[in-house]
């Protein structure tokens, strides 16, 4: 409940700041904001919460022998549920405030995007959880990192107003690919396959890194948390 309100409040603040104060000339800016803010909250809160998951559940890790992969997964799933609860509100906003036609194809496009997002977020959460068990500074650093990434990703501004030399970099940003894929579903009723492929490629790479980390670091997690 409060997670929902928090994300909406942030979207409202950015809307005031950019639409009212900075006079950003962009139609349906509020829809642009809201459709990516909720996937972002899932990503950032899931990854940061996931990073804390071994250390925060130390008794379970140390004394109960619960499989390690469960802990970050529970954070990712919890944020997924928050997102699912937010979906009706997001859809209502897209349709009522934005005037976009509701699309039947959302019924399968949204689940596909949810799967992509899980595949994207889980390796990040698992990798951060493993790293954070050994080096506790990961968690606060992750908070800073996601704040920077938030503005390094076209979240509150459209890619089109970014100066040309920076375009290339931003287009390669897998976070942008993921967020823009979500917008494409809500605002065009279509899956943006090239962007989804980029996000999926990043998810695979992150998965490989997380798997290597897991192989290397998981056996001693019980000793270091």
């Amino acid at each position: 409940m409060w997670a929902l309100a928090h994300t909406f409040a942030l979207a409202f603040v950015y809307w005031i700041a950019f639409k009212i104060i900075m006079r950003l000339d962009m139609p349906n800016y509020s829809v642009y904001l809201v459709t990516a803010m909720f996937p972002w909250a899932w990503l950032a809160v899931g990854a940061i919460g996931g990073a804390r998951s071994f250390v925060g559940n130390a008794p379970l890790v140390k004394e109960m022998g619960v499989a390690h992969v469960i802990f970050p997964l529970s954070n990712v799933m919890q944020e997924m549920m928050h997102f699912v609860f937010a979906l009706p509100v997001v859809i209502a906003w897209v349709v009522l405030a934005g005037g976009y036609p509701p699309s039947v194809s959302w019924l399968w496009q949204i689940p596909v995007m949810i799967l992509l997002q899980v595949a994207f977020v889980y390796p990040i959460a698992l990798g951060c959880a493993l790293a954070n068990a050994y080096v506790r500074d990961i968690e606060p650093l992750l908070g800073i990192g996601f704040s920077l990434l938030f503005f390094a990703t076209p979240m509150v501004y459209p890619l089109s107003i970014v100066p040309q030399p920076l375009h290339g970099y931003l287009e390669l940003n897998p976070l942008h690919a993921l967020m823009q894929s979500w917008r494409s579903v809500f605002m065009q009723g279509a899956l943006d396959l090239p962007l989804m492929a980029l996000a999926g490629g990043f998810a695979l790479a992150a998965g490989a890194v997380a798997w290597l980390l897991y192989r290397k670091l998981a056996p001693r997690v019980g000793e270091v948390v």
Binding site: L60, E63, M64, G65
Partner: protein, 258 residues
């Protein structure tokens, strides 16, 4: 018949200066010294086996490696050398309140803990009445766990694992907080568990408890097995060694001398 639990030539070392921050990673840490609580080998050459239906006591002074040994048996800590094998479903009670959540009621916690122990929902349901009855918590079973005393938490934890379908129990020094009568009830339940061919490994500083519950045991000192055999003998020798080391009776010194 294969023993329920076996370990062979276990060696374990911990990183003594754990990397807990960027600072220590960058600056490194000072050279570690060998002391009672910080030595190279937490466990060395530890080996024993426990046949099905037996219970095994582990004794030794603080810092001798008892908890490390249980953690290795449970699999939360990995041995560096040696071999461990357990044949059967394992349940552990290594720390008071591990696996419980303070905001949930006792009843909900039994379900939570049961699922962590690997029980299915139907299994917990089927056993719940027995668990609640054993714990004697009565109406308190429906109040949040954070209102419980340590003894009540121990009651709930012990009642759950003793009524779980586990074939091997690992228990680390948690019964000490229960009152005398409940402890006696636990000992009775552990003897019945053993009679059902259950296997128990228990760490305790309560020698009377060990004598009542265990058949055999080992004594660890500085990570090594210094004594093994029938529990009564291990306990007596341990008490003799401890008495010899007691303050004021330092080796060679007359009582009362500094």
């Amino acid at each position: 018949m294969t023993p329920a639990l076996m370990c062979e030539d276990l060696w374990k070392t911990y990183q003594r200066h754990r990397a807990i921050g960027v600072k220590s990673l960058l600056l490194g840490a000072d050279t570690p010294r060998e002391t009672r609580f910080s030595r190279e080998w937490a466990l060395s050459e530890v080996g024993f086996e426990v046949p099905r239906g037996r219970s095994f006591g582990v004794i030794g002074p603080n810092g001798s490696g008892k908890t490390t040994l249980l953690s290795i048996l449970l699999g939360t800590v990995q041995e560096d050398r040696g071999r461990v094998s357990l044949n059967g479903r394992v349940a552990s009670l290594l720390e008071l309140g591990a696996g419980f959540h303070g905001d949930l009621t006792g009843r909900e916690n039994v379900f939570l803990y049961g699922s962590i122990l690997g029980m299915r929902l139907a299994e917990v349901r089927q056993r719940f009445d027995r668990i609640a009855e054993f714990s004697e918590l009565e109406d308190a079973i429906d109040t949040p766990l954070r209102t419980y005393s340590a003894g009540m938490v121990a009651r709930l934890g012990f009642s759950t694992i003793i009524n779980s379908p586990a074939e091997i129990l690992l228990i680390d020094e948690v019964l000490a907080v229960g009152d005398t009568r409940f402890q006696a009830k636990c000992h009775q339940a552990l003897r019945e568990f053993r009679a059902r061919q259950g296997t128990l490994v228990i760490v305790s500083h309560n020698m009377k408890e060990l004598n009542e519950v265990c058949d055999e045991g080992i004594c660890l000192e500085l990570g090594r097995v210094v004594d093994a055999g029938p529990i009564a003998r291990v306990v007596v020798r341990y008490q003799e060694r401890m008495a010899a080391m007691a303050p004021g009776k330092a080796a060679g010194g007359a009582p009362g001398n500094r």
